[in-house]
Amino acid sequence: MTVGIVVFPGSNCDRDVRWALEGCLQLSTRFLWHEERDLGGIDAVVLPGGFSYGDYLRCGAIARFAPVLEAVRDFADGGGPVLGICNGFQVLTEMGLLPGALTRNQKLHFLCEPAPLEVRPGTCQWLKSYGEGEAINLPIAHGEGRYQCDADQLQQLEGEGRVVLRYGQNPNGSVGDVAGLTNPAGNVLGLMPHPERACDPATGGTDGLRLLASVLA
């Protein structure tokens, strides 16, 4: 089991993800530089947090054209598990693998704090070890995490059970309290909170561990 961790210029959570996967879960990992096109031997892909390409223009707007993401798109279309955390979620929406967009926090502040969340796993592969309606805590750290889509789109997402993570106390003004979304097949998850920062009791709980461990099962 090898997890590929995409590294863009400006990614800054790539090593945190590696620490969580290798140090806490004894998984092997491989960094995938943004120019790489070969995902051979990779069983799951993580798009980590950070500021890909400086977040110029819009968060994720430039990253979307990275060569590695063509391979990631094929991988996701083939049913491979793909996880986008924070900036990774923004990249997934810019790519069109998930609908909507992430915009400036309602109160403009960069938010770095624990966030209580409600999990509705549905068919999402990354959340299969969580109970329906389970309450967990994961840290958030973002300036542009306000999920935005139109009312019809939100209703459709709700109806299809794709809003799999919801804020308990909406910190950023996201429509529908959306903190995380999955695709129709359930193999792609994008979320603003950072599960890799909640994998060791010494650093703020272990609620994120089961999410990352789900690729093992």
Partner: protein, 115 residues
């Protein structure tokens, strides 16, 4: 090595531009793309700026929305091609149609005869 011709055009291998009369005839278009948040999307930065305007003593501002203004120059064989290229650029890269609208002003600055 720095291109002696200044800002426009990359340094290319081969003969300089004055030895390539055909290349010199490609028309140059100047475009201005205005990207703005769709009216249904909250603009917290605009709201904060509106509040600051009131503190400055400028009252009566009813709406204030912040967008992006992008100026570019493009070589293209004719106006229709330039228009199509910049529309593609605006729709796929400069703006995110999920949250943003864009508008385009296009003008030919100099170059060969207009098609």
């Amino acid at each position: 090595m720095v291109h002696p011709g200044g800002s426009r055009g990359a340094w290319t291998l081969g003969l300089p531009r004055f030895n390539k009369p055909l290349a010199a005839q490609v028309p140059l278009f100047s475009a201005h793309v205005q990207v703005s948040l769709r009216s249904s999307v909250l603009d917290p930065a605009g709201e904060a700026t509106r509040a600051a305007a009131a503190r400055l003593g400028v009252d009566g501002i009813k709406t204030l929305r912040i967008g992006k203004s992008i100026h570019l120059e493009l070589e293209a064989p004719d106006r229709a091609t330039a228009q199509a290229q910049i529309e593609l650029l605006s729709d796929r890269l400069l703006a995110n149609p999920v949250i943003e609208d864009w508008s385009l002003e296009l003008a030919e600055t100099h170059g060969g005869p207009q098609a």
